[in-house]
Chain length 376, copies 2
């Protein structure tokens, strides 16, 4: 284990005034977590929240590192998976945090993927009306997306992420070594979000990914670089629109179609995980933009060929099992987005890295596009 920072470590600073924080990205960060926290913040107690997959791999190392830095910790291991983002588990986490006598300057530490991060961050935002929060994201998706930006939350029977708070972390430690134990499928799913940042407004980054994706998957400097660029991209959007009233919507590129597909497969991860839905959704968003004469069909083909190359799904037909008809997918989109006067808000594009928020997309056009792409 590295006791000192790797020469390749990267830092992304998120300049949110009194809520500003650093994201450290590099190898060996779990072993150094205690030092990094103690050198920046003054709490001396932590409640570490993790899941049953991650606990056996990394919990011990994290706790030892905290202890060595004089930070005592209580731990809570929860079941893995999306169902853990519930009111019941939120109550369990709050209870554990209170039992550990965490005060305003002490920490809740999330060790895990986006599920653990979203749930623990919510608890950190409400116990004593807010205690400090440290993210140790362990999935690629959480390192490049969910651990940055301060959105926390749980699901309700009325939909995903409908209950939560904005609560920015005080520090994010993205240990790039731990991604080696992530399944290839989960790694690819996270990679869809990495590619997304290129497609939103960084054409050079997308081109770099086309040339270097094997190195990103292999680990090492290219992986650190890709994660740091992604965190910087998300940070830029969040800083411009912390509470999501406008431009932050760009982060939803591919997500309107993606969410509809997740709903259509009942959030059954054996059929579709979020990043796979986003991958298919990004191809659809580019194809739809071409159909609306906004972008060239070549761009859609280029997007598809890259996502296919890394092993991601790119077509609705590739999803195992039967999908409901286009009308049902359209209903899911309308639920997600609110249709006003037959129009809805969509992230469209004028080409690779030229996405924009379109507020007046006719629902009828989306429906006929879906019928064409997914004939019953």
């Amino acid at each position: 284990m590295n006791a000192i920072a790797s020469a390749f470590e990267r830092k992304v600073h998120v300049p949110l005034g009194e809520r500003a924080y650093d994201i450290l990205i590099g190898p060996g960060l779990i072993a150094r977590a205690g030092t990094e926290i103690a050198s920046r913040l003054k709490g001396r107690k932590a409640a570490v929240i993790t899941d049953e997959h991650v606990a056996p791999l990394y919990l011990e190392a994290l706790i030892q590192s905290l202890e060595a830095a004089g930070i005592a910790s209580a731990t809570l291991v929860l079941p893995a998976g999306e169902k853990t983002k519930s009111f019941e588990h939120l109550m369990t986490v709050c209870d554990k945090v209170l039992e550990a006598r965490i005060e305003r300057n002490d920490y809740v530490i999330a060790l895990g993927g986006g599920v653990i991060g979203d749930l623990s961050g919510f608890a950190a935002g409400i116990v004593r009306r807010g205690v400090r929060f440290v993210q140790v994201p362990t999935s690629l998706l959480s390192q490049v997306d969910s651990s940055v930006g301060g959105k926390t939350g749980i699901n309700s029977r009325h939909g995903k992420n409908l209950v939560g708070v904005f609560h920015q972390p005080d520090l994010v430690l993205a240990d790039t070594d731990v991604l080696n134990s992530l399944s290839a499928r989960e790694f690819r799913a996270g990679y869809a979000e990495v590619a997304k940042y290129g497609l939103i407004d960084k054409p050079d980054f997308f081109a770099w990914l086309e040339a270097n994706w094997q190195a990103v998957f292999a680990g090492g400097i290219a992986r650190i670089e890709a994660i740091a660029t992604s965190c910087q991209a998300k940070s830029d959007v969040v800083v411009a629109d912390e509470r999501e009233t406008g431009q932050r919507a760009l982060l939803n590129l591919g997500h309107t179609f993606g969410h509809a597909l997740e709903a259509a497969t009942a959030y059954d991860s054996s059929r579709l995980v979020h990043g796979e839905g986003v991958s298919i959704g990004m191809v659809l968003a580019h194809e739809f933009s071409a159909r609306m004469n906004l972008a060239s069909p070549d761009d859609a083909r280029r997007v598809e060929s890259h996502l296919k190359a890394v092993g991601l799904l790119t077509r609705m037909a590739e999803i195992p099992g039967t999908l409901p008809p286009a009308e049902v997918l359209m209903d899911a989109i309308a639920q997600d987005k609110k249709v006003k006067g037959g129009k809805l808000t969509f992230i469209l594009t004028r080409g690779i890295g030229q996405s924009f928020v379109a507020n007046d997309v006719p629902a009828s056009e989306v429906l006929s596009f879906l019928k064409e792409k997914h004939p019953q």
Copy 2:
């Protein structure tokens, strides 16, 4: 019912920047709620949360007033009492709000005392990471205290109000007529908080209360005046310290002893309600200040004689049942306050209306004072 504002209506503006809001205080405000909301805000849907005591008295009138102003409402009636501030009921409220398809600009409306206000405000703060919130406080305590300032929350088995968020209301409508159906005991309990504002830093207001309390209890202009002065006082403190990092602590005058007494009576409202604990606590705070040679014993006598005159408890011995020994009360205080190096933070006073935050009160002095006041 008054369709137009009473000439005696008062408005207190809480200047919190983009979270600024108005508190309206006067008769007939429930009948005018729809108009007041619709003229200020643009949502057209509301979820009204109330309790089983208040619902039969005022729910119908509120809903009709909303409807007349074009605001459709869903309603939820919860059990009355402190136990309702729980995770279970929080989930029920969130569910109802989502079921009613409340969006960010629609409303959660709390119709009731501090219990309904704290619970509904918390739900409004977390559904969709924050929707609009309107308080229609119906107890004196909620009109002068809990509905102002944005603290929301629920209780945990580890203690009261330990889980919650800061979520400012968008409008507070304090209808002074509804206080006529409040029990005399609950009215007096709320009055303890009114007197508190005088004792913190408004000696003239305290003197005015000594002369005019009968008129405040009777209703009419004096009541409106007392409530408006209280809201203004709380607003001033909140504006100076929205997130409670310093001076907001002054609002805890009488509360350190009061909370210990509430804990010692297991929050059993048949023995002691919050305002009664605060009443006894304020007398104790003045007596303790006299003992520390900070204030004259005459001030403590003056405080006691006024609170006694309105019918409030002022002595530990008046609490029905047996209190635990002084050491146990002291433990409760230490839990509430955190003792650092044998010292604790306390609100003390140099006389009527001259309270201050003391950071270095020796715990040993508090204990021997308690032993003297409550010999076993």
